[in-house]
């Protein structure tokens, strides 16, 4: 599904990703952990195609195609979804309208018909209900005045409606209360199937208890420095990142 090879990314004049390798198969869930500022969000933005995140070396294959030559919107239409660590507010733009515009834009790019508005509303309402969000959030402006947790759940509603092939969740669990965390995890689990893959960026292993990742990786200083099973997450939670070899930190 996703194959990242020796990825180098520069933001401004600063090298942030410095030879990152990662392979995620279809239907797999991978967790990425790592200290603040290590480059986790940068990885998400780079994969989603944000301007200013300049790839200076390496390659990324997504679903068999060269991801790096696609525009951000083309990546979305190809089935890549990024749940933002800090979802963006768009004043005056109705939340439901935004989501439908997004879905239709993707469908159009794929040569599909526009979604039927009744089907669309039904699907969105279902997701809202599953995430225990109030219907009124649909009529409000995108993320404007949403609480932190509402913003994160709104990202999950978008994900569920857009049905991506690969979803990158950037700290979707941060700022959620315990019940909301469970709802988000259940939301992800509902979407899981043999095809769809997830990259879950998190600081806490609590989310991973509900999600049960296939692999856990540690990103430090722009590189994956350690990979393992779930037990790696538990160890990190207990010991912190101190056990990472000192030369990695100095690099």
């Amino acid at each position: 599904m996703l194959k990242i090879n020796n990825l180098h990314v520069q933001v401004g004049d600063k090298d942030i990703l410095k030879g990152l390798n990662l392979e995620v198969g279809p239907g797999e869930v991978h967790a990425i952990m790592g200290p603040n500022g290590s480059g986790k969000s940068t990885l998400g933005y780079s994969l989603a195609g944000r301007d200013g995140y300049e790839v200076t070396d390496g390659s990324v294959l997504f679903d068999g195609q060269n991801l790096l030559e696609l525009e951000a919107e083309e990546r979305a239409a190809a089935g890549l979804f990024l749940a933002f660590q800090y979802p963006v507010e768009i004043p005056g733009v109705n939340n439901a309208y935004f989501l439908r515009a997004a879905l239709n834009a993707q469908r159009k790019a794929r040569g599909e018909d526009e979604v039927d508005s009744i089907d669309f509303l039904r699907a969105v309402r279902e997701q809202l209900k599953a995430l225990q969000m109030d219907d009124s959030l649909l009529k409000r402006a995108v993320n404007e005045g949403f609480s932190g947790g509402e913003k994160k759940r709104n990202e999950m509603v978008q994900m569920a409606v857009l049905q991506p092939k690969l979803a990158i969740l950037d700290e979707t669990d941060s700022g959620l209360d315990i019940d909301a965390l469970k709802l988000v995890a259940e939301g992800v689990n509902r979407l899981r199937n043999d095809e769809r893959s997830f990259v879950v960026i998190t600081h806490y292993q609590r989310l991973l208890e509900h999600l049960v990742p296939d692999q856990v990786h540690v990103l430090s200083n722009g590189r994956i420095v350690e990979s393992g099973g779930r037990e790696l997450a538990e160890r990190l939670e207990q010991e912190g990142y101190g056990f990472l070899s000192p030369e990695e930190d100095a690099a």
């Binding site: 989603a48 195609g49 944000r50 301007d51 200013g52 525009e71 951000a72 919107e73 990546r75 979305a76 239409a77 979804f81 990024l82 933002f84 979802p87 963006v88 507010e89 768009i90 004043p91 005056g92 733009v93 935004f98 989501l99 515009a101 997004a102 879905l103 834009a105 993707q106 790019a109 402006a141 995108v142 978008q158 857009l162």
Partner: protein, 481 residues
Amino acid sequence: MSQTQQQVEQLIQSRYKAGFYTDIESETVGAGLNEDVIAMISAKKEEPAWLLEWRLKAFHHWQTMVGPNWAKLKLPAIDFQKIHYYAAPKQENRPKSLDEVDPKLLETFDKLGVPLHERARLAGVAVDAVFDSVSVGTTFQKELKEAGVIFCSFSEAAREHPDLVREHLGSVVPYRDNYFACLNSAVFSDGSFVYVPKDTRCPMELSTYFRINARDTGQFERTLIIAEPGAEVSYLEGCTAPMRDENQLHAAVVELVAQEKSKIKYSTVQNWYPGDENGKGGIYNFVTKRGDCRGDDSRISWTQVETGSAITWKYPSCVLRGDRSAGEFYSVALTHNHQQADTGTKMIHLGKDTTSKVISKGISCGKSQNSYRGLVRMAKRADNARNYTQCDSLLIGKTCGAHTFPYIESANPTAKIEHEATTSKIGDDQLFYCRSRGMDEEEAVALIVDGFCKEVFKELPMEFAVEAKALLEISLEGAVG
């Protein structure tokens, strides 16, 4: 035409859909302005003698005036002797009904999305269609008459309802008011006239569509709306012109009279040809619009969506004379390429407990300049008057400019004035958020701008809100990237 040329042509067309020209034989008066020309316009319209006198008084006064230079506009000199002051499609007799109107004219309005013939008329909207200097026809006149509402062209009103016209013409915007209003008073051609009798709610939306067609012709329309005590009316104007390399002058005057407890809602979707991407051609739009809240508890609301014109100079205003009267101004002004807009409002509070609200949204892209200019004046006896002004500017790109010129004058210590202003750039994070969800850049910009204008759009009558939004999207094409 070569393939690429054709594509370019199509692109331009798509950007300004109203840019076509109707090939119709027209009757114009030779270029230039003098008493004879004015007398001729008046004669063509079969006006009463007092109206010609009024025009001539205005003309003589205009000759003593100089044009305004205080706006933030690069104003090329206008040669008033090169302009034709009257142009009308040739016709034997004045058509008595829409059935007698030249099909070419009906076709033109069809193409502009304003069908006039019975079958295709917009439901619930009566339309007066003005082509160059004359009204082509007015729909639903019979239905309106039954309700006691008069809705007709200004020329017809001067013939059929001279007393009403004489009483109110110039009572809100005197001919001496300003340079362009004075010029208009001398040479005005057609426009609309609305009279809503006491305690009557106009049963449908009224709307006028102004079309400039003839070359080198100025359009000087004049609109007068009178709402008697307790009356209510909602009126909308739209305007377009062919694409031409030469600039054309449009200098209109709109007067609104709101008696006690009456309500007038006036909306504009202004889409005059803005000129090309190099700043060539386009309409010079100099307009004086003013509403007089003459009676207590009266209310006037201006909503404007301005996307067209090379130069826009207009400040729809409210004189809040009656106690507890209320004025509102909602505006979206979008400038692109080399367009210049200097627009805003004046809220003149004279009565006690008067209120006004101003919401202005300016969007600048390309090399355009967009200014908000607003005056709030609280007169001595305007006890407890209140104003709220919110003025937001959105910049797209690095070569445009946004400016705000608020003027506040208060002679009454109990008056409250609030002013908020913001200037923002369209955010990279917002753009990326939209794109990461699958929208392309153009769609994303349109969406963000639409959200920015929401407070104003929701004031427009439904049918026109959709149109305004579509217009904005087209006007934004090529704004980024």
